[in-house]
Symmetry: none
Subunit: 202 residues, 4 copies
DNA sequence: TATGAATGAGGATTCATTCAT
DNA sequence: CATGAATGAATCCTCATTCAT
């Protein structure tokens, strides 16, 4: 998924590094101080550049934040894809668990940054981008299961997918943040919920 | 749940009305414009008082926002309690559905305000207060079910309760905001998920 | 003519004084440093108030500048009116000279401020307001002379008025700024030009 | 009139073209957007060069603007000269009209650029250069008429020249911008004013 | 208590200019 | 010569909060 539109297209190597530094810095500042305190000047300072440079690449604060989210969102696509491939052909329960494990692992890895977004960034600043991911996941899930479901149950499947995606997203994130009990037990529970939601197959 | 600590205790009737007006105004402004745009001056203007007066009743912006949340949170206690009483003695499935229906109804009623908080207020501004409610709900749920569960399964029950509370909260809110399909179908689905999480009773 | 729209209506005496101080300060800064250098912070500093206060009364830099011009423009209305009254009934030549003398006197009095506007403020910032004055002056001039002119010459009168107003305005200001020769000689010259422009009376 | 001092003398052909492109671009941007919005970066972009290159030819923004004015000013010298030659030997009235026509034509041709300067550029940025032209015009006018005037009237001639130059400049520009009535009528009026200013010849 | 004028630190953003490549 | 990335001081403006009246 594309990074935010850039004012200056980074043709030179130096540009590319600068963009990286800005996004890195923004992630750090967001995690440390939250959205409100993440002023452009502060992000620039953290990146070791001048405030003006920032505006060579981003049109403003929101675009920088968007780039940080894009990075997280892109991470999911990349890290869940292998699990999806591995799961293909396996029975539904182990397949589901495999994928959920990958999702949870990715969340765990970005834990601090995700925590910062959840706690300190108003959702309207990033909802659109996360929603795009959500839609993609829902589409994939739907088509994975649709084949083995009678056409009459498509509506039920739609509802199950909506519910699953929301449930997995929320519980995964909350579990990673709070870690209220053991990882395996959580994955078992979550797998059971998701599998239980699927309409009876043919 | 207590209102935020006030600088002046509103012993007099007029004071109480002023507090109401401020909280009302804050709810309106938050729903209309979000947290960032909800300046104290704007809230005061909406309430028809001067900015200075505001500080006679609240120590600052965050305390006003807290009072708005408290009102929402208190609403739940009040409106779910009757359903809880009615559910007592009924079989688990209809009982659960009854309570979930009440929860959903309350969310639906506060839809705009909840949407404003979810979308536009950084969670750290209100997380503590919602967490307190969450804990209370978890406690009640735990004790309601604990009696019919073997002591050995207490850990499993803990996990099921954590998962249920998080799931119900999230799905209920998201369903009320998006209304992606029919209400009854949703309640059926959600009831099934929650009941399915309960450890096998004795 | 009205001052620029104010955000805060100066009900209290203190407000009125603050507005005065801001407009005074803006005039000083404009005359000293020009439009570009007349930052809101600098105007505030000159006025001995904080930058925020400024925005309580004016929506921004342009509105402050407009208030300064309004003051100058209003000055003309007030100071030329007596001359107009005195001129009524006199023959055209002494009457014209009387009015031009009053105009020049007023320009001379505001010399520094007018110089600052002419030299250092882009005209688009104040053209509209000066144009309003110009239109009023043209209207008055037209009606003063129209009575003694055959209806057939109205077009010619229109042209003469347009030319007179522009000529008087420009020469008066430039003369006051440069003072290239004696005041009396200038008034004689200018009176001759203006009287010469008038279409032949009945 | 000389171009502004350059950092590098454009001995080479390519350099000369670059300078042209910069001045062209500056004229376009000034006419389109005014002085404030005419940033060096924007001028460079319009010229199709990089901001750095600009500083190879001009010491800064003001020097670029000066070059644009010089071009306008030089245009006058070139386009009024033929009219002056043609007017020589003719009676004063048709001669004056001929020259004024040429002046007006030149203003009309540069209408947009002149409008941009008048409306949107603080006069102090270009006053010196226009003043140089004004002085030259005044000198020429003085010597043209001086021969036929008694020496005793030299002071009067001085005053008439000052007034004429200012009047012609201002009315010509304002007429071209506003076009409030017919061109011929304007030239008649203006010619009459100027001729009327001349001291009685011997 | 209520008022509302005043505060002032801090935020987002721009742009003339420089300099390493 | 040209490039274009980088600079950083300076600008306009906001808003939570205070305090004299």
């Amino acid at each position: 998924m594309a990074m935010a539109t850039r004012r200056r297209t980074p043709t030179q190597e130096r540009s590319r590094r600068t963009v990286e530094r800005i996004v890195d810095a923004a992630a750090v500042v967001l995690a440390d101080a939250g959205y409100d305190a993440a002023s452009t000047n502060r992000i620039a300072a953290q990146a070791g550049i001048s405030p003006g440079t920032l505006y060579g690449y981003f049109s403003g604060k929101d675009e920088i934040v968007a780039a940080v989210i894009d990075r997280v969102v892109d991470g999911f696509a990349e890290s869940v894809a292998p699990a999806l491939r591995e799961a293909a052909g396996q029975p539904i329960e182990p397949a589901t668990r495999l994928v959920l494990d990958a999702v949870l692992a990715e969340v765990e890895q970005r834990r601090d940054l995700i925590a910062a977004f959840i706690d300190r960034v108003p959702a309207e600043r990033y909802a659109a981008r996360v929603d795009a991911l959500r839609t993609r996941v829902a589409d994939v899930t739907f088509h994975l299961v649709a084949a083995s479901i009678p056409a009459a149950d498509r509506d039920e499947l739609d509802r199950a997918v909506w519910t699953s995606v929301r449930t997995v997203e929320h519980l995964t994130v909350r579990f990673a943040l709070a870690q209220p009990f053991e990882r395996d037990a959580f994955l078992d529970l979550l797998t059971g919920m998701v599998v239980g939601l699927a309409p009876p197959s043919r």
